[in-house]
């Protein structure tokens, strides 16, 4: 072991109590970063999965141009060969479900009350996987055995004052511009946790929607659900190759393109996390700088001695920097261990969270152990330790040798 490292280690453990306090401060800093980072990552993944499972799916396919102009003239951008595409997509590894979507809007009426709605027509059975974040609170989910049964968001059901089995009339504009009406029954009422969604949305079997809109066999978009979000890139590449080879007039969007809220949440929490990490690092820097400064004051005569013996000023700087680095490594490791232990313990119990904004259901949060966050906490510990020993080390190296030797 080099003399420098030997000196650093022995000097660190010279004043055990002070070192213990310093290491505790660093471990506190590192573990706070790990805990908060792990919590934030849990939120990211929850929001991501809830967005994917409740709305956008992993991948969506559209006719080219639909996303730009489809809102004005949706009927010009329909996909006519859904069955062919479904068969091909099902053949791709990791694809679990291929779900047709047909968005529509119009008025829904009980006869007494009428309100506007946004609806989606889906494959009753396929839609199951996509709705795993909506919870049926009354009645049942869509079924192909009940073609006229629709399901409503809880807010809409309350607004209309309807319950399971009640009759409704849907009014919508057909492909050719006419008005069409469809008599349906409330089959189920669900809740997603998103208030805006629950107040305005209804779901209907796609064939009935196609009849209402007079566009048999056509769909607006195709939603793919995969076995795991991590495989999105793989499936996207396969689909792109398929579309190119077959010459389909389709474009691909992944959940990353569509889940705007996920990105907003992610940006917001990332910023909060960074600010918090900065504050923690700053406190750690102050703590270590204080220890280092005290330690240098106490060791003034030793510093004078090693300089008298022929250690250059740069050697004194590296001596104290090395001490800082060793402290940083020790504090980082300790912090990681403490962070992991607490994260596991807290996740075991679970953190009950209130409903997030725009949502009606609370949830149980966990703290994920994320390698990137561990690395970040460790890196910050090290940087903080180095930063905070820079100035004391420089000061030590600037000591006047003869005065330092006289120091008592």
């Amino acid at each position: 072991m080099g003399i420098q490292l030997k000196l650093a280690l022995r000097n660190i453990f010279r004043n055990r109590r002070r070192t213990a306090i310093t290491l505790a401060a660093m471990a506190f800093g590192a573990s706070s970063i790990i805990l908060f980072g792990g919590f934030v990552n849990f939120i990211f993944i929850s929001v991501r999965e809830s967005t994917i499972r409740s709305q956008v799916g992993h991948i969506q396919l559209y006719r080219k141009g639909f996303l730009d102009k489809g809102s004005v003239a949706p009927n010009d951008y329909m996909i006519a060969n859904f069955d062919e595409i479904r068969a091909l997509a099902k053949g791709i590894e990791h694809v679990k479900d291929v779900i047709p979507r047909l968005g529509f809007s119009g008025l829904v009426s009980t006869g007494e009350t009428t309100t506007s709605f946004v609806g989606s027509g889906g494959n009753p059975e396929g839609e199951e996987g996509l709705s795993s974040f909506t919870r049926i609170v009354e009645g049942k989910a869509l079924s192909s055995s009940d073609p006229r049964g629709v399901t409503l968001g809880l807010g809409m059901a309350r607004g209309l004052g309807v319950k399971e089995g009640d009759s409704l009339t849907l009014l919508a504009t057909t492909k050719d511009g006419g008005i069409n009406a469809l008599a349906v029954k409330v089959r189920g009422i669900w809740e997603s946790g998103e208030k805006a969604y629950d107040d305005r949305f209804l779901k209907a079997p796609i064939r009935e929607v196609q009849r209402l809109l007079d566009n048999e066999g056509e769909v607006q978009s195709i939603v793919l659900l995969l076995d795991s979000t991590e495989n999105t890139g793989f499936v996207r590449d396969r689909l792109a190759a398929l579309i190119r080879d077959r010459g389909f007039d389709l474009e691909i969007k992944t959940w990353e393109d569509l889940a705007l809220r996920y990105h907003q949440v992610r940006d917001l929490f990332s910023n909060i996390f960074n600010v918090m990490a900065l504050i923690v690092s700053f406190i750690v820097v102050l703590g270590i700088a204080n220890t280092m400064t005290m330690s240098i004051f106490e060791r003034t005569r030793e510093i004078g001695t090693v300089m008298a013996l022929g250690t250059r000023r740069s050697g004194v700087i590296s001596m104290f920097l090395l001490e800082g680095i060793v402290l940083g490594v020790l504090g980082g490791i300790l912090g990681a261990v403490v962070g992991i232990v607490i994260a596991k313990a807290v996740s075991f119990v679970g953190i009950p969270m209130p409903p997030p904004p725009g949502s009606t259901q609370g949830f149980i949060a966990k703290i994920l152990i994320v390698p990137a966050v561990l690395a970040k906490a460790f890196r910050l510990s090290l940087i903080a330790a180095i930063l905070s020993s820079l100035y004391p080390a420089w000061r030590a190296s600037r000591l006047n040798i003869t005065e330092a030797l006289r120091h008592v």
């Binding site: 003399i3 030997k6 000196l7 022995r10 000097n11 010279r14 005569r301 030793e302 004078g304 001695t305 090693v306 300089m307 008298a308 013996l309 022929g310 250690t311 250059r312 000023r313 740069s314 050697g315 040798i401 003869t402 030797l405």
Partner: protein
């Protein structure tokens, strides 16, 4: 014998507030290889200042210092540190061992600065510790050693790299009289048997008695030189 040390017209002036204080007012002397030279004088006479300048721990206001043929006063700071490591051994009044290192490691330290290879380092450290009669204490840390033992380790540390010159500032001032005598004896023996050149400051009449020459200082000047080939 050749000159190991040549000091010419050395002055040192400090500024205390707005007052300039002359610590050394033009000191010149030479020391030959193998000398045992004492610098005596009352407190404030400039002994320590002179030793600090010779050791390259401080820079003179004017004058020249030549050690073993090298002009010390012209060197930049880092070079001065290197020269200290190569040519000068230091023995301090307060021993100044590094508390976290063992006796062995303290003596090894200058060799590490000089990048001496491991095998040679070991034999030189062991030889130095044996010379000062403290080989059996090599694994002890300074806190576990008596003052006399610590000063012996410090002397071993000063000798180990084979310096041209060992500077000792009041080496016995912090020791009881019996231990002081032992340390004086040791230094004297190293001087006569190994030819180590010692230049040291002292109040201690007993050291002056065994010194080859005594440079008597007062008010920053050499008053007289007593001894053999003065």
């Amino acid at each position: 014998m050749k000159d190991i040390l040549d000091v010419r017209e050395l002055t040192k002036t400090y500024t205390l507030g707005k007052v300039a204080v002359t610590a050394l007012g033009g000191v010149s002397f030479r020391a030959k290889a193998g000398e045992f030279l004492a610098i005596a004088g009352p407190s404030g006479s400039g002994k320590t200042t002179l030793l600090n300048l010779i050791g390259g721990l401080d820079v003179p206001s004017s004058g020249e210092i030549e050690i073993d043929g090298e002009r010390l006063d012209r060197l930049a700071e880092a070079r001065r540190a290197d020269l200290r490591a190569r040519k000068i051994g230091f023995v301090f009044q307060t021993f100044n061992l590094i508390p976290v290192l063992t006796a062995y490691e303290n003596v090894e330290y200058p060799l590490l600065l000089g990048k001496v290879p491991k095998g040679e380092r070991r034999s030189r450290v062991e030889a130095a510790l044996a010379q000062v009669g403290i080989a059996d204490r090599s694994r002890h840390r300074p806190a576990e050693l008596s003052g006399g033992q610590q000063q012996r380790v410090a002397i071993a540390r000063a000798l180990v790299s084979g310096p041209a010159l060992v500077l000792a500032d009041e080496p016995t001032a912090n020791l009881d009289s019996r231990t002081a005598l032992e340390v004086i004896d040791l230094m004297r023996r190293l001087n006569s048997e190994r030819g180590v050149t010692f230049v040291f400051s002292t109040h201690d009449a007993r050291i002056m008695n065994v010194a080859g020459r005594v440079l008597r200082m007062e008010d920053g000047r050499v008053q007289n030189v007593l001894g053999a080939n003065a």
